[in-house]
């Protein structure tokens, strides 16, 4: 972008990029399911920042990506909650907090 000074929106977009990478890293290295969910949520936040930050950079407020992110947050919390429900059940029947490795 042409701006010599880093704009706020661009800054947060860059933070979003880093969060995506960080989240992916955590998602791969961890086996504990709660940790993988944390990583997933971090990655999700990163993508939301990317969505709004990039769209608004140099163009001002854009309500469309903001609305998309609102939708995305609800979807993310639904996914997380579903994962936790299944995780607890899994933990109850198996006593494990990770998935078996063999597949």
């Amino acid at each position: 972008m042409s701006a010599t000074v880093l704009a706020t929106d661009a800054l947060y977009a860059w933070v979003g990029v880093l969060l995506c990478g960080l989240g992916l890293f955590g998602f791969i290295i961890h086996r504990h399911l709660l940790r993988r969910l944390l990583a997933f949520n971090v990655m999700g936040s990163g993508s939301f920042l990317l969505l709004v930050g990039l769209a608004q950079d140099g163009r001002g407020i854009d309500p469309v990506p903001q609305a998309l992110v609102l939708t995305g947050i609800v979807v993310a919390v639904a996914s997380t909650a579903l994962a936790l429900v299944i995780f607890r059940r899994w933990h109850r029947v198996s006593g494990e907090s990770t998935l078996p490795e063999d597949v």
Partner: protein
């Protein structure tokens, strides 16, 4: 009044209704509504065949501000295919799950899944596709988890993680594309990209976005080597659930992938990438076939067969990408027919396998000894579906394979011929492995549980459909080309 929103809203309303209704009403309601929805689906197809592609701007707001539902031949075809597969599955579930604890969750999730599928086939908006994918993914995961056993829960969890990661990759791609082009409507994007061409500076952003989205969608489609989550999920679920997952759910992400590639056009989807997908598909065919051969449990064999069969569908990407118009058309026809053939055959096979497992009371192939005498109908359905999966005539699988062979020959990509022929032999090996056990006449038990006839008939209907489609493929293939890039002459 347009049929397009009804195709999503009917199943959605059914989902809401079956959350509330008493258990005993849900099954009959499910079957009745499935019949109705199949009728609506056929109505849509008729409209599309008669009047060309249909569009409906939801909320009265035209894209890019609003979201449009669009039905071209392909979308209408998928809607009809969904109904064709889901109707026997609904029948199977209504009778097979009656009185079981899982029935409470099954029906709402079944309907949510159907709504999501129709939503995806008809969607023409990148973000709407994301929401549709999530709805589909969570409903599918829920269906897998329903059994509540340790195996089912682990499989559901693994599936959920894959689905979540896949949709995130897709979402990041959406963010990039929106930033780069300023619209979420597929039609807009296709126009912009065609206008801009390769030389445009933004092509790199688009490429990264498409790469991420493709990777996420591949994970959801379970293309080798990202297939790890599929066999436990599809192999361990209830029979109608396995059937729906293998037949339709994984096709949804493939469908989006195909739409994206066609949207981006040849400039942004270099043939090398197509070859990569084709090569992965080839590997899937052989690896999945080999693993299917080695499974001890019947439904896991069928699940690995899905891993293998998905591979054929990915031959689309290298074959469609060539400049040869004939080859591209043959690839389009062949892939879509293969998709339909696999959907019908695999759903039939899972239902039949479920009946067989129910009859012998054991999930193991080795325990099928003597079953041919007692459950010939289920075995027959399994065989009919198997014929299509093996790609032997006369079946839709064969006709599709023939078209793909012709496409490979026309484009000069001879490698895929080996995949098509070798893969067929490998699938023959695992299908006949089941029969080898079933035909054994030995000192086996002569008491088998007998499932209701309707369970066997629903499997038979799907198996027969996978055969019959091969004989009447001409007209459906013409319908599928309506509104496709082939119709306009730009592959």
């Amino acid at each position: 009044m347009s049929l397009l929103p009804a195709l999503v809203m009917l199943p959605l309303s059914a989902a809401l209704a079956s959350t509330l209704l008493p258990l005993r009403w849900r099954g009959p309601l499910g079957v009745a509504l499935a019949v109705l929805l199949a009728g609506v689906a056929c109505g849509l197809l008729r409209t599309v065949v008669g009047d060309g592609p249909q569009a409906h701007a939801l909320g009265g707001w035209a894209p890019p501000l609003g979201i449009a539902l669009v039905a071209d031949g392909l979308a209408a075809g998928m809607v009809v295919l969904t109904a064709t597969v889901a109707l026997p599955c609904a029948l199977h579930a209504a009778l097979g799950l009656r009185g079981e604890a899982v029935e409470d969750g099954f029906w709402p999730l079944f309907w949510f899944m159907w709504a999501a599928l129709n939503g995806i086939w008809l969607s023409a908006d990148l973000f709407n596709l994301y929401v549709g994918l999530e709805l589909l993914g969570l409903a599918a995961v829920g269906l897998v988890a329903l059994k509540g056993s340790a195996g089912a829960l682990a499989a559901a969890m693994r599936y959920l993680l894959a689905a979540l990661l896949g949709s995130l990759a897709y979402l990041i791609g959406v963010a990039l594309l929106y930033a780069a082009w300023g619209s979420l409507a597929l039609a807009d994007l296709a126009g912009f990209m065609a206008e801009a061409g390769v030389a445009q500076s933004g092509s790199l952003t688009t490429l990264v976005a498409l790469g991420l989205m493709s990777a996420g969608l591949l994970l959801k489609t379970a293309l080798f080597p990202l297939h790890g989550w599929l066999p436990p999920a599809h192999g361990g679920a209830l029979p109608p659930v396995s059937a729906l997952l293998s037949a339709l759910v994984i096709k949804a992400s493939l469908y989006i992938l195909m739409r994206l590639w066609i949207m981006a056009g040849p400039a942004l989807t270099p043939l090398a990438l197509g070859w990569l997908l084709g090569a992965l598909g080839a590997a899937a065919v052989f690896w999945g076939g080999w693993m299917a051969l080695r499974q001890a449990r019947l439904k896991h064999l069928v699940a690995y067969s899905t891993v293998a069969q998905i591979g054929y569908l990915f031959l689309f990407f290298p074959l469609f990408g060539v400049a040869n118009m004939d080859a591209a058309r043959l690839a389009w026809d062949g892939t879509l027919l293969m998709l339909a053939a696999h959907a019908l055959a695999k759903a039939g096979m899972f239902l039949a396998a479920g009946n067989l497992v129910l009859a012998v009371g054991s999930p193991h192939i080795a325990d099928l000894t003597g079953i041919s005498r007692f459950r010939p109908l289920s075995l027959m359905s399994f065989g009919l579906a198997g014929v299509s999966l093996m790609g032997l005539p006369p079946s839709a699988g064969f006709t599709a394979k023939w078209l793909l062979l012709q496409s490979a020959l026309a484009s000069g990509q001879w490698v895929w011929i080996m995949v098509l022929v070798g893969g067929g032999l490998l699938s023959a090996a695992y299908v006949f492995r089941v029969f080898r056990h079933a035909f054994v006449e030995g000192p086996a038990r002569d008491r088998f549980a007998s499932p209701p006839l309707a369970l066997e008939l629903s499997a038979l209907a799907l198996g027969s459909a996978s055969i019959a489609l091969g004989l009447v493929a001409q007209a459906p293939l013409e319908w599928l080309r309506i509104g496709s890039p082939l119709a306009t002459g730009v592959p």
